[in-house]
């Protein structure tokens, strides 16, 4: 199977280039794109740099652009892909080396969402109670793996990565807003009322299309817009 892979090591390359590898995926028992990339790294070219950890789609390390779509290399079946398989780093973020991007801006936006439970009431001796219905509101939100596939597929995020929080961070903002145990809802919503943080979302749904966990950041974004609107009237 033929792979065309983005290569760039700033220490030696003047500019990035695409490198072709032909891999016998049967011989090397490759099922997913990650298997093929690790075969290339382990058997042919140790200098290929990428991130990987769990290899089962839960750690979010290996988000990359595969045949034009952002996805996780470890859950992208080779059998579903057309040749040559074109693999590039996630778009819109600075490239550190090869398929490794600088995620710091993405993490800064995540932190801007204050992604931790805020509740200043005295802690009970046991658990805070939460009904199964209230708990259900967190489904589809807490499962985010911070792979950045969504935010880096969003043109609004490409334009304003420093000011627009992007779908991943906004999903987290909403995860705490709807948590019945969190008491900072008003402040959280107030933090989103500037023209950029939330309102640069134009609803084009690239985030929904690429999310490897089938989450729906747009729904969360729209819910927050509704809540802010209701509070303002």
């Amino acid at each position: 199977m033929r792979f065309s892979i983005y290569r760039y090591n700033p220490e030696k390359d003047k500019s990035p280039y695409m490198q072709t590898f032909d891999i016998d995926v049967k011989e090397h028992q490759c099922v997913m794109v990650l298997d093929a990339l690790l075969t290339i790294k382990n058997k042919f070219d140790e200098s290929l740099s990428l991130r990987r950890s769990c290899r089962e789609g839960v750690c979010g390390s290996d988000g990359m652009n595969i045949n034009g779509k952002n996805r996780l290399a470890c859950t992208a079946h080779l059998s579903s892909l057309k040749e040559p398989v074109v693999i590039r780093p996630l778009p819109g973020l600075p490239v550190v080396r090869d398929l490794v991007v600088d995620m710091s801006q993405f993490y800064q936006q995540y932190e801007k969402a204050k992604p931790y439970l805020q509740n200043h009431d005295p802690k009970p001796a046991t658990e805070r109670l939460q009904s199964p219905e209230d708990r259900k509101k967190l489904d589809g939100l807490y499962e985010c793996i911070l792979c950045a596939c969504c935010s880096t597929s969003c043109p609004s995020y490409w334009w304003n990565p420093d000011k627009y929080m992007g779908p991943a961070a906004l999903l987290q903002a909403y995860r705490f807003i709807v948590d019945s145990r969190d008491t900072a809802t008003e402040e959280r919503l107030a933090d989103l009322t500037d023209p950029y943080s939330l309102y640069r979302c134009r609803g084009i749904m690239n985030c929904v299309d690429v999310c490897p966990k089938d989450l729906n950041p747009l729904e969360a974004i729209n819910s927050m817009k509704d809540m802010i609107l209701k509070e303002s009237v």
């Binding site: 382990n42 769990c54 750690c59 793996i145």
Partner: protein
């Protein structure tokens, strides 16, 4: 090499559950904490834990931490230390409530309390009916926990060295003074000088070819401890999980069986009923794994090669699977091509968890032996989570006790470091030669120009461990494996990487990891070969019985191959000691 020194109250190596839990304890009181993590913390392997975390909350039915303690001791095949198990089970409910207060999105029952499910080896009233003691967030408990802990650390403003790799401990006359580390992105090398060093680097399941473990589970902290001259304990005990997906090795949680799923052979027989009529599919993991291995060996395995068994869950109904086991379903569809709602999942026993590790007491203080052969606390060094051996899991860990272990002892480490600093624990000065020593293997890899590739040695190592130190062991196989492993160690000294770049050089990191894998594989081989009995996960054809007379003791392995023994603690502080008995009598 002149390296920059950073001064901290504490340095934590590892950004998984144990490290992050310890960090919260320290940073929330204003101590200056550095967390070195070779991956962004939420990529740590805690994220893959699925089923849950045990605590006798009694939300489903009356429960008692003493029953939990009993199950854990019996599950450990009596190799666990009862003072530590008592501490863990007693502190379990409080540790869970703290996680809940931090925001962990636990699944709930109608009255708003935390949902608790059935899990292997969990009983009520000392061995009677199945208990429901496992708290969970659907089947993504580790993910929910790791993210919650990371988020809490963001709030507490701990200082993260993300994508930094710890190279070695810096030792001096009195104990441990910190660690050296390299920045993966830039190649910058630093010495982190700290009053206390907490190792929380997780497991080393990558010594096996087939494992549920992430690529990053390379035993880094344990390699560091060995090279510093400190021992590892009970390294012969590796848990093989009964339900790794055939082919990929990804984990299918015990919660599938906890919710009512069961294993079948090629005849459709629910074979665990035959082996273990009382607990059946929810017997201890070592037992279920051995039964599956026997089914496969005796020709009752499934598939064209007869080399796996099937995990049946379709009778549970679509609704239950979608609400309680959504992550499992996703994994089965992606990696096995089967939807558990409709058909059974092909599974095999797969390397999953290391019961051994750096010996500690229940304050998470690391222990070595002095010249007289007595336990001695290592000044300034702590260990928690899978890399530690407290020992709460003994010869076999109960499902959902690992998340508990890392939370309880991460917390304990944090509390003890805090207290020690309050009582005057301070920085101990290392010589520059001590720091140089802790950089020597980096120099070796940077210097070696030509030699075997890292991947060649790693693959050979994994194959030896898989073939000769797996579910069933014999002296004959282990002896051969051992010789091959020693040869491989010599070859490792002459291995080389061609990539010498300082920019996100993952080849170099994998080389440094290989040193650790080799150290752990050798420790396992030495200890497994030495223990002439079958206990928990250590099962030998040539010594099929547990031998309490000769082998009721911990093994301590040092890097030079020396093995000494430590007695097992059978004196809990406030509950009745649990006396020796056969596990079959309980289950």
């Amino acid at each position: 090499m002149k390296v920059a020194t950073h001064l901290f109250d504490a340095v934590i190596v590892g950004g998984g559950g144990a490290g992050l839990r310890a960090a919260i304890e320290l940073s929330q009181v204003g101590l200056h904490v550095a967390i070195i993590s070779k991956v962004f913390p939420t990529r740590s392997h805690t994220v893959s834990a699925q089923g849950g975390i045990n605590a006798a909350l009694g939300n489903a039915e009356p429960d008692d931490w003493r029953w939990h303690m009993f199950d854990t001791v019996v599950g450990s095949d009596f190799l666990g230390d009862q003072d530590a198990i008592e501490y863990m089970c007693k502190n379990a409910p409080q540790s869970i409530y703290e996680l809940e207060h931090m925001g962990l999105p636990f699944s709930r029952i109608e009255n708003g309390k935390i949902y608790q499910r059935a899990f292997g080896g969990a009983t009520r009233e000392y061995g009677k009916e199945q208990a429901h003691r496992t708290c969970c967030a659907a089947d993504r408990t580790g993910h929910a926990m790791l993210h919650t802990l990371y988020q809490k650390n963001l709030q507490a403003k701990a200082q993260f060295f993300n994508e930094w790799f710890a190279i070695d401990l810096v030792k001096n006359q009195t104990g441990v003074a910190g660690a050296t580390a390299i920045c993966i992105e830039t190649g910058e090398v630093v010495f982190i000088h700290a009053k206390a060093t907490i190792l929380a680097t997780g497991g080393a399941g990558r010594i096996y070819q087939s494992t549920t473990n992430a690529h990053i589970n390379t035993g880094d902290g344990m390699g560091m401890a060995l090279r510093a001259g400190y021992p590892l304990q009970d390294m012969e005990f590796w848990q093989f999980h009964p339900t790794g997906i055939y082919g990929s090795g990804s984990l299918i949680s015990e919660s599938v069986r906890g919710e009512g799923g069961y294993l079948i052979n090629k005849n459709g027989e629910r074979y665990m009923e035959r082996y273990a009529p009382h607990l059946k599919d929810l017997s201890c993991r070592d037992i279920v794994s051995r039964c599956s291995a026997i089914e496969i060996r005796e020709g009752r395995g499934c598939g064209p090669m007869g080399d796996y068994v099937l995990l049946k869950a379709d009778h549970l109904g679509e609704e239950l699977i979608k609400t309680r086991l959504p992550g499992i379903r996703e994994l089965a569809i992606t990696f096995a091509g089967t939807d558990p709602v409709k058909e059974p999942i092909p599974v095999v026993p797969t390397c999953h968890y290391m019961m051994g590790g750096i010996p500690t007491n229940y304050h998470a203080q690391a222990i070595t032996k002095n010249v007289k052969g007595e336990d001695q606390i290592i000044q300034g060094l702590y260990a928690a989570g899978e890399c530690a051996c407290v020992s709460v899991h003994g010869a076999n860990r109960l499902g959902a006790n690992s998340l508990l272990d890392l939370v309880v002892f991460g917390r304990a480490a944090g509390k003890h470091v805090k207290q020690s600093i309050e009582q005057g624990l301070t920085w101990s000065e290392p010589h520059s030669a001590d720091i140089e020593q802790a950089l020597s293997r980096l120099y070796r890899w940077n210097g070696n120009e030509k030699g075997e590739r890292v991947d060649e040695i790693r693959c050979a190592l994994q194959k030896i461990m898989q073939d000769d130190f797996g579910v069933f062991r014999t002296e004959e196989h282990m002896k051969t494996g051992f010789v091959k492993l020693e040869e491989l160690r010599d070859r490792l000294n002459y291995a080389a990487i061609q990539d010498k770049s300082d920019c996100f050089n993952t080849a170099r990191i994998e080389a440094l990891e290989l040193d650790n894998l080799m150290a752990i594989a050798l420790a396992t081989a030495h200890c497994a070969n030495m223990r002439e009995e079958s206990r928990g996960a250590h099962a030998r054809y040539d010594y099929p019985k547990r031998d309490d007379k000769n082998w009721l003791k911990h093994s301590l392995y040092f890097e030079d191959g020396k093995i000494v023994f430590r007695s097992i603690n059978m004196k809990p502080q406030e509950s009745e000691p649990i006396t020796l008995r056969a596990r079959e009598d309980v289950h």
